[in-house]
């Protein structure tokens, strides 16, 4: 009986963890990682993106990707960087890739859609 209670509680917690995401959430950087190195590299990329150095941003993100190859937040930022460099097709491919790894992550999905909807508009990477 105790096990049943524990399982029920876990299920309820799992349900509660589903996040409601809105546009405002995208204003604060989401890294999808607690890895200090990944966060540090993504911040370097944000800074480079803020300076319009999109190739540099891309390389920092690629280093982050090597540490967490399937982090959709890294991939979506790389898509954004490619988009800024005028490489729409590559950006779309990476968004597709990001979506595969995003799974049920609503926040990641929201970022993907934002980049998708305006491939050449304002950057999602917030400096």
């Amino acid at each position: 009986m105790v096990r049943l209670v524990v399982l029920t509680a876990l299920l309820l917690l799992a349900g509660c963890s589903t996040q409601m995401v809105n546009e405002a959430d995208l204003q604060t950087p989401v890294y999808g990682s607690e890895h200090p190195a990944v966060i540090s590299l993504m911040q370097d990329a944000e800074q480079a993106g803020g300076e319009q150095q999109w190739n540099r941003a891309l390389s920092y993100l690629d280093q982050a990707r090597r540490i967490e190859p399937r982090n959709p937040y890294v991939l979506v930022r790389q898509a954004e960087a490619y988009s800024q460099l005028g490489e729409g097709e590559t950006a779309r491919s990476l968004l597709q890739r990001a979506r595969i790894y995003a799974g049920d992550d609503a926040q990641a999905e929201m970022m993907i859609r934002t980049v998708e909807s305006g491939l050449s508009r304002s950057p999602v990477i917030t400096p």
Binding site: P36, A37, D62, S93
Partner: protein
């Protein structure tokens, strides 16, 4: 007539003696004038030559190619062996206190690394005192003088250069960065009056002549540093008077136009100091790195004296080949340094008392990686002119992982020796090639073009196109699974196959064990690598469709639409095979395999950087489905040796071509894909199939670099299949469960078999657990 002429002639002719003298004088004047004009023209020509060569870029600087820098961060899987190896390969030395850049120390798992300053692709980083803790093979803590750090890069290993045809290599160094002791030692040894002469030294020449007369031969040169520079920089080693005169004039011209400091700096970078294979070592910067494994600034007094001693004869005083001779020369120079008050007596005694220790010439930090370099050069030439790569001193940061490369080389060399020991008739006949990439990014981490890992020559990884044998089979099964009618439990006939070709030629493939196995599940066809079942399946789904999938997965070579391609009668290079398997390993993302990360100018300005790119060419669920089959090959099929040694989810496929001429293995874990080929250059049979010829190399390499199990599939569900290959309803106890993409849940099912039990029983057991 002749009588008339004689008196006239006599009266008009001057005295006999004065006529030739005047003519001689005129001729002499003419010659002098012409000579002066010619000399003037020649000097103008020499002057132009001197200025042209000296004003611009003085040397063709080869691109310097580096491995990836090891990025340290908390949580990184890193063995102490790897850390120490990588430090040594970047020419770091163990030192008790790690007090100087380029040194490290460790006590147990606590490491201190004094990283040198280094110009990374994104900018110069100053020297850092790194502290890290290794616990259970991972970095637990990482800090520097500023405190805890999320990420610190180590200095990358130099892996080679892209040289001009003369193969000169050098590390340019500015005069202000040269230790003053070296400059002083060089001057007092080679040209004491350097700062006072005008390019040539009359006293020097006189002194040398005297010495030569006394010795009865050429024992001493009277050349100044300027003359030596001119000789090395502009002229040949020819010993003629004309060349000597030209050298003298050019020295004077050089001194006329340039300062002593400029000349000295050029000398320090030009001087020839030795040879390393194809590479000519020029300049004290590279000389320090080559002989002592450290930058010039880190040299001890004794090492400086040894390098200065090499100027007189790089080969004769080579400290590796002639250590005693080099040591005597070093001590002589130390004496001269003391006499000229460059060092104190105590310093001389201390330096002379130290043994002459040089860095290992074949150490990783100075060896080259020919196969990888060739690929990097090829890929660089998509964006850069060869001329620029050979001349501009570019810095190229690559994807090469020296630890993976080292593990691959070690495993390959050892295994080929083992194979040859088992078949002495094969001694020195077997060759190998291999490619290891990162699964998610397609970065090439290691590349082997031959068992002779440091020789430049035929690069089998790129250029040997050999039949891939059963490595093609996953593509046949992929085509079938993609079609929507087949699944791993579908039945396929493994009976004899006969296909009639266009000219009536019959194709009758046989299984490796020469047996037929009747009707087998599709999965068995792949995991047991059954030729007959695979050929029949391929013929059923269509050869053209298999060809289409091969191209979709990344094969660029033309693939003929013949039945034999279903069993691998396709000639591909290991690199092309790796490209194809990369798509399978990365859940359907076709990414061009890449060896370059970034390129900067010699000054550190980033010219280009490269990141992941590609496109999703397969549904990830389909790829997971195929991967299940490849996992079974490892767990229970022809690659079970891998499964037994590394009991975790890994995927792979063995391959053997007709008559066992080629042995292949392609396999991947969650991080790396490896493709290995073993065979003979003369394309003769060699007795070892893929599972024995190539697989063990993969296995040993992946053991050494560490494996990460493949993650559980996300998009597959289990459905039971009956003996006929039909899907059964959920809850049937009978049947064999196979994984299916979720889209198959809606497919029609047959009724449970007679002995199938209802699901209730299983539910009750769950309820039992809960209550």
């Amino acid at each position: 007539m002749s009588q008339k002429k004689q008196p006239r002639k006599a009266s008009s002719t001057p005295p006999a003696k004065s006529v030739p003298r005047r003519r001689w004088l005129r001729t002499g004047l003419g010659i002098t004038l012409a000579g002066s004009v010619l000399l003037g023209v020649w000097l103008v020509y020499l002057d132009a030559q001197v200025r042209q060569a000296f004003d611009g870029r003085k040397w063709a600087l080869p691109a310097k190619v580096y491995a990836r820098p090891l990025a340290l961060y908390p949580g990184l899987l890193l063995s102490p062996q790897q850390l120490e190896s990588e430090l040594k390969w970047a020419d770091y030395r163990a030192a008790a206190d790690a007090g100087r850049p380029g040194t490290y120390s460790h006590q147990g798992g606590e490491w201190q690394i004094n990283r040198r300053a280094f110009p990374f692709w994104d900018g110069q980083e100053s020297a850092r005192q790194i502290r890290l803790s290794l616990v259970d093979g991972r970095i637990a803590r990482l800090a520097d003088a500023q405190g805890e750090q999320p990420l610190i890069r180590l200095e990358p290993q130099y892996v080679g250069g892209i040289f001009p045809t003369h193969n000169e290599d050098r590390e340019l160094i500015r005069l202000e960065d040269v230790p003053p002791v070296l400059v002083a030692a060089l001057i007092v040894t080679e040209d004491k009056s350097f700062f006072s002469h005008w390019g040539i030294s009359v006293t020097g020449i006189a002194r040398a002549m005297l010495a030569n007369i006394r010795a009865g031969g050429m024992v001493q040169g009277g050349s100044t540093l300027t003359q030596q520079l001119v000789k090395n920089f502009f002229l040949t080693n020819e010993r003629t008077l004309t060349r000597k005169v030209q050298e003298a004039f050019m020295s004077l011209l050089l001194e006329l136009h340039y300062s002593k400091e400029e000349i000295l700096e050029a000398y320090i970078n030009e001087v020839y100091l030795g040879q390393s294979g194809r590479r000519a070592i020029h300049g004290f910067g590279l000389g320090a790195r080559f002989y002592f494994g450290k930058p010039l600034q880190e040299l001890s007094t004794g090492e400086i004296a040894t390098l200065v001693g090499l100027v007189k004869g790089a080969s004769f005083y080579n400290p590796r080949r002639h250590p005693q001779r080099a040591e005597s020369r070093r001590d002589l120079i130390l004496g001269v340094m003391q006499d000229n008050r460059i060092i104190s007596a105590a310093e001389r005694i201390r330096a002379a008392g130290q043994p002459l220790v040089t860095a290992e010439p074949r150490r990783e930090g100075q060896r080259e990686y020919p196969a990888f370099l060739e690929l990097a050069k090829q890929q660089l030439q998509q964006d850069y002119r060869l001329e620029d790569l050979q001349n501009e001193g570019l810095r190229v940061f690559t994807t090469l992982d020296p630890w993976v490369q080292y593990s691959l080389e070690k495993a390959s060399v050892a295994h080929l020796q083992q194979l040859e020991a088992g078949h002495p008739d094969l001694t020195n006949k077997l060759e190998t090639a291999a490619v290891i990439t990162s699964v998610d990014g397609g970065e090439i981490r290691a590349l082997l073009g031959s068992r002779h890992v440091t020789y430049f020559g035929f690069n089998r990884a790129l250029d040997a196109r050999r039949p891939i044998g059963s490595l093609v089979k996953p593509m046949v099964y992929l085509t079938a699974l993609k079609e929507g009618e087949y699944h791993w439990g579908s039945r396929v006939d493994d009976g004899p196959v006969t296909v009639e070709g266009p000219q009536g030629k019959l194709w009758q493939p046989r299984n490796y064990d020469e047996q037929s196995h009747g009707e087998v599940p599709l999965l068995d066809g792949l995991k047991r690598s059954l030729n007959q079942a695979t050929a029949r399946l391929g013929m059923t789904v269509g050869i053209d469709r298999v060809v289409t999938e091969l191209h979709r997965a990344g094969v660029l070579s033309e693939v003929p639409s013949y039945p034999s391609i279903l069993l691998g009668a396709i000639d591909l290079s290991p690199l092309e095979v790796a490209q194809m398997y990369q798509t399978l390993a990365s859940t359907g993302f076709l990414t061009p395999l890449r060896s370059i990360d970034a390129v900067t100018t010699s000054g550190g300005e980033t010219l280009s950087s490269y990141a992941i790119r590609g496109r999703q060419v397969y549904d990830p669920a389909l790829m997971e489905w195929l991967r299940y089959g490849l996992e079974q090959v490892v767990a229970d099929g022809t690659a079970r040796a891998v499964g037994r040694a590394l009991p975790q989810p890994l995927a792979g496929k063995t391959g053997t071509s007709d008559d066992i001429r080629d042995a292949w293995y392609a396999g991947f874990d969650n991080r790396h894909l490896g493709v290995i080929w073993v065979g003979r250059d003369d394309n003769q049979p060699m007795a070892y199939p893929g599972s024995r010829g190539a697989l063990p190399i993969w296995l040993q390499t992946f053991r050494d670099i560490g494996t990460e199990p493949l993650p559980p599939t996300r998009d597959l569900v289990q459905i039971a299949v009956n003996e006929q290959g039909a899907l059964m309803p959920d809850g049937c106890r009978a049947g064999t469960p196979y994984p299916f993409p979720k889209s198959w849940l809606d497919k029609e099912r047959v009724a449970c078999d007679a002995d199938g039990a209802p699901i209730k029983e299983r539910i009750r057991s769950w309820l039992d657990w809960l209550f």
